[in-house]
C-alpha cells in the first residue's frame, strides 16, 4: 500500500460507521490506527477536535504544581509503571500518543500506514521535529532507540511487547539472546521514514509505540536522562530529587505548539494520601495524581476544586501459579473464580466506584470487549469443583498484596472471606510496595494491579501469551496463543471482537487468575487549571494545561 493512499480497509470502516454497526469511538480508534489523521476521522463522525480549538484560546504562562510520587527515572526505557512516565513525557516523547478518548494520534510520527496483511508498517516522522539542542529528529534516532529497547541490558518491558512480532529470543547457558527476527525488520527508507517488517501480522503497532517505555532518548547522550538532558518534548527538566520534587521549564523553541505554562512542578508528599489532599486544600498544589476512593468525599467538599472521574481498564488480578499445586488444576482455578461475587467486591473494596469484573481481563471500555454471560458467583459449584479436584478438605495458602494500594488490600480481604465458604483459607499478607514487587512472579498467589491499556489484546499479549515475561503464573494455552495471533491480524473491529470473545471464554474457564473489579479512577484539580482531561491511564500531559489568571 502506498502511504499517500487511504488504507484499503478505511472505506469499509466508514460504511460500518454510517450503518452504525460500530460505535463512534470504534471508528475513531480504528481509522486513526490505520493512518487516517485524527482531524479527518473526527470530521467523518461529525465532530471537531474540541481540544484543538480550545487550545488556541488558552492563557499563557504560570506554574502548575501537581502532587505526584517522585521516583528514579534515570532510565526512562526501563520504567516499571505508567505513573512515572509523567516525569519523563514532558522531556522525551513517544512516536504516537493515545489520548484520553482512547484514540491513537501521531506524536513524533507524522503518519503511518500498513500493508493489507498488517505485516509491514510504514511510519513517517514529523519533518520539523528536532531535539532541544538543535539537531533534527531522524529515523537514525528511532532505530538507535529500538535497538536499545530490545537490548536485555536495558531492562525494558518493551522487549516483551515486541518479542512476538519483531524479535527472535533464544537462551543459552541461562543468558537471553535477543535479535531482530530479520535483518530488515527495522528498515530505514529515508531520514524521515522507516518501516517495521513484522514476523506476524500485528494491528496494535501504533498503540504499542505509546508504551511508556518507548520514549525516544538522544543517542548523542547515550540515552542519559536527568536534569538538562536532551529531548524532543516541550519542557526541559530543571530540578529533580527523588521523593521530593521535579521541576520542568518550558522550552520556548519547541518544534510543535509550545506549552501554555512556564513551569510544571511535581511534588512528592510521601505515602500518606491525606497529605496530598491537605496540600490541595491549602492550595499548595493545583492538582493531584489520583484521589483514593475513601478520600473522594473530602475533596468534593473543596469549593475551589473540580473532581474528574473516568471508567478505565485499571484492575487487579489474583494470580495463581499454574505450575504449582493446587493451582495447576484448572478446576481449582475455576472454583476460585466462581467463589467470588464481583458486585460485592465493587461495593466493598472501591465503594461502588468501579465495574464488576468478569475474570477475563477485557474491560467494557475496551473497543474489542465482547460481553459474556456473568460467571458466578456460585459457591456450591466451586465447592464441587474443589472436591472433584481432590481438595474436598479445602486449601490453605498465603496470598500477597501491596500496602501501597488500599483498595487491593480491601478487595483481597473481601475475597478471602468469600473463599472461606468453599473451604479455601487464604492468609492475606500485606507487605510494603518496595518488597511486594520483589515477590511478584516468585510466590504462587499474589494480588497485583494492572494499568489501563487501550486494547484487551494488548493486555493479552503482555500477560497471557505463553512465555512472555509478565506471564508470571506461567500459564500456557495453545489455543489462546493461536486465537491471539488471529485477533492481532484482524482490522475489522466487529470481526476482531468475535475472536476476542473466544479469548475471554478461554480465560474465564481455564485462565490463571481471578479478576473481580474494573476500577474507576478519580483525580482533582484546582478550577484555575484549564484544559485538563483525565486520561484512563492517568497520564498527565502538562503541555496541554493552562492556568487562568
Amino acid at each position: 500500500m502506498s502511504d499517500d493512499n487511504v488504507h484499503f480497509a478505511i472505506p469499509a470502516l466508514v460504511d460500518q460507521w454510517e450503518r452504525r454497526s460500530i460505535s463512534r469511538r470504534e471508528f475513531l480508534r480504528t481509522a486513526t490506527l490505520l493512518g487516517m489523521s485524527a482531524a479527518a476521522a473526527y470530521r467523518i463522525v461529525g465532530l471537531s477536535p474540541a481540544a484543538l480549538a480550545a487550545a488556541q484560546a488558552l492563557p499563557q504562562g504560570g506554574t502548575v504544581r501537581i502532587a505526584h510520587p517522585i521516583k528514579d527515572v534515570s532510565n526512562p526505557q526501563a520504567l516499571n509503571w505508567f505513573q512515572f512516565a509523567d516525569l519523563t513525557f514532558p522531556v522525551v516523547q513517544t512516536l504516537t500518543r493515545i489520548g484520553a478518548d482512547n484514540v491513537t494520534r501521531p506524536h513524533l510520527a507524522a503518519s503511518w500506514g500498513t500493508s493489507p496483511d498488517l505485516r509491514s508498517w510504514t511510519i513517517k516522522l514529523r519533518p520539523n521535529a528536532k531535539w532541544r539542542k538543535g539537531r533534527p529528529f531522524t529515523v537514525d534516532d528511532v532505530i538507535w532507540n529500538i535497538k536499545r529497547l530490545i537490548d536485555p541490558a536495558t531492562g525494558s518491558v518493551s522487549l516483551g511487547l515486541m518479542q512476538p512480532y519483531l524479535l527472535n529470543v533464544s537462551e543459552t547457558d541461562g543468558k537471553k539472546k535477543v535479535e531482530l527476527w530479520d535483518a530488515n525488520a527495522v528498515e530505514k527508507v529515508d531520514d524521515h521514514t522507516f518501516k517495521l517488517n513484522l514476523k506476524i501480522p500485528q494491528v496494535t503497532i501504533p498503540e504499542d509505540l505509546f508504551t511508556y517505555t518507548s520514549v525516544m532518548l538522544d543517542p548523542e547522550e547515550n540515552g542519559a536522562f536527568g536534569i538538562g538532558a536532551n529531548g524532543t518534548g516541550p519542557f526541559e527538566m530543571a530540578e529533580f530529587e527523588v521523593s521530593k520534587r521535579a521541576v520542568y521549564r518550558k522550552w520556548p523553541g519547541y518544534w510543535g505548539t509550545p506549552a501554555n505554562l512556564d513551569v510544571v512542578e511535581f511534588i512528592d508528599f510521601g505515602d500518606d494520601p491525606n497529605a496530598a489532599i491537605a496540600a490541595l486544600a491549602s492550595r499548595q498544589v493545583d492538582g493531584l495524581y489520583q484521589v483514593a476512593q475513601d478520600l473522594l468525599p473530602a475533596v468534593k467538599n473543596m469549593e475551589h476544586v473540580k473532581v474528574y472521574s473516568a471508567s478505565t481498564a485499571n484492575n487487579a488480578t489474583l494470580q495463581l501459579d499454574c505450575t504449582q499445586k493446587p493451582w495447576s488444576d484448572p478446576r481449582v482455578r475455576l472454583a476460585m473464580r466462581l467463589a467470588v461475587d464481583p458486585k460485592k467486591q465493587v461495593e466493598l473494596a472501591v465503594r461502588g466506584l468501579g465495574t464488576p469484573g468478569e475474570h477475563h481481563h477485557a474491560a467494557p471500555v475496551h473497543p474489542d470487549y465482547s460481553p459474556l454471560p456473568p460467571l458466578g458467583p456460585d459457591p456450591a459449584k466451586a465447592k464441587q469443583l474443589l472436591a472433584d479436584a481432590g481438595y474436598a478438605d479445602g486449601i490453605t495458602a498465603d496470598a500477597y498484596v501491596s500496602s501501597n494500594l488500599p483498595w487491593t488490600v480491601a478487595s483481597l480481604e473481601g475475597m478471602a472471606d468469600e473463599y472461606r465458604a468453599i473451604g479455601v483459607n487464604l492468609n492475606v499478607k500485606t507487605i510494603p510496595g518496595s518488597q511486594f514487587w520483589e515477590m511478584w512472579g516468585k510466590v504462587p498467589v499474589i494480588y497485583s494491579d494492572w494499568s489501563h491499556r487501550p486494547l484487551a489484546i494488548q493486555m493479552y499479549a503482555l500477560v497471557y501469551r505463553t512465555g512472555v515475561d509478565w506471564n508470571t503464573p506461567k500459564w500456557s494455552n495453545a489455543e489462546f496463543d493461536k486465537l491471539l495471533d488471529e485477533a492481532s491480524s484482524i482490522i475489522d473491529p466487529v470481526e476482531r471482537r468475535k475472536v476476542v470473545a473466544k479469548l475471554e471464554q478461554i480465560l474465564q474457564q481455564d485462565g490463571p487468575m481471578v479478576q473481580p473489579i474494573w476500577l474507576d479512577v478519580q483525580t482533582a484539580y484546582d478550577k484555575r487549571v484549564l484544559n485538563f482531561t483525565l486520561h484512563p491511564a492517568l497520564c498527565i500531559f502538562p503541555e496541554e494545561l493552562a492556568l487562568s489568571a
Partner: protein
Amino acid sequence: MVQSCIVVLACTMLVFIATEATPGSVARKLLGPFASAQQVEILTQALGLNDPAYVRYFRWLGTVTGLSSVSIDPQATKNWSLQSLDTRTYFGNFGYSTLYKKPVNKVLWERLANSALLAGVALAVIIPISIAVGVLCGLNRYSLLDRTLSIVCVVTTAIPEFVWGILLITIFVLKLGVLPGTAPLQLSGNWSIAQQLVLPALVLILVDFGYIARMVRSSVIEVANKPYVRTAVLKGLGRTEIVLKHILRNAMIAPLTIILLQINFLISGVVVTEVIFAYPGFGRMLLEAALFGDIAVVQGAAIVSVVLAISTQFLGDIGYRLLNPRMRGA
C-alpha cells in the same frame, strides 16, 4: 568517650545484623521488578553483595571510618544512575542510597537539619510552657488550678499525634483556611516556611509539653517539701527568691533528663507527624528507607541517632553538674 565509641560500634553491628534479616536483594531494588535475573546478577557482583556478611560489614565500616574506599565497576552500573556514587575516602562516608539515588550524606544531613529546625521550634515553646505549668501546679498542688492544668496535660499527652494532626488540619486548613496543610519546606501556594512549620510544631507541642510539665510538677512538689526550703521560708526569704533560687534550680535536675530525651525523640522519632504533614525530616527518611530496604540510609541514620543520644546524655551530665554542685566532684 571510649565507652561511647564502643556503644556506637555495638550499634553498628546490631543495625547491620538487623538489616541483613530484611528480605530482598539490594540489586533487585535498584533495578526494579522487571529487570532480568542476569541484570540483577551483574549488579550484585559489581556491588559485592554476594560476599559473606562479615566481609560486607567490615567493608562498610571501613568506608564509614574513611579507612577504605568504595570501588565499583562503572560498566556494570552504567544504566542505573550510580554516577553519583560517592567513591571518595573520608570519615563519615555512609555510602550510596538506593532509594534516593545519591550519597547518603546528601540526604541524611539535610533531613537531620530539617528535623532539628522543627524540634528547635517545638522545644522553644515546650520548655518554657512546661516549666511554667509544672511550677504553677507544683506550688499550688491540689488546687483548682493544679487539677485543671493537670487534666489538660494528661489529655493533650494522651491524644496520639495522628489525631492531633487530623484535628488541626480540619480546623486550621479545611475550616478556617489560615494555615497550609503540609510542610514540604518548599515555597508553594504563597505559604512561607514559617507558616508551614506552625501545624507540625503545634502537634509536637501538644503531645510533649504535658509530659514534661507533669515531671516538673512532681519534682517541684518533692523539692518544696525539703527541709532547706522550709528553712528558707522560716528565714523570711521572699516567695520569688525561694522559688527561683531554692526550688526551681533543684527541681530541674530530674526533668533535665526528660527534656534531653525529648531532643532525641523530636529529632529522630516524630515519624507520624512528619508523614502527616509531608515534612522532609529525619524520621520520615528513616521510615521510607526501612520500608524500601535502603540499608545504607538505615545504617547511617541509626549511627547518627545513637551519636545524638549519647551526645544529649553527655550534655545532661554537664547540666547536672551545673545545677547540683555536689555532683561536680563525682
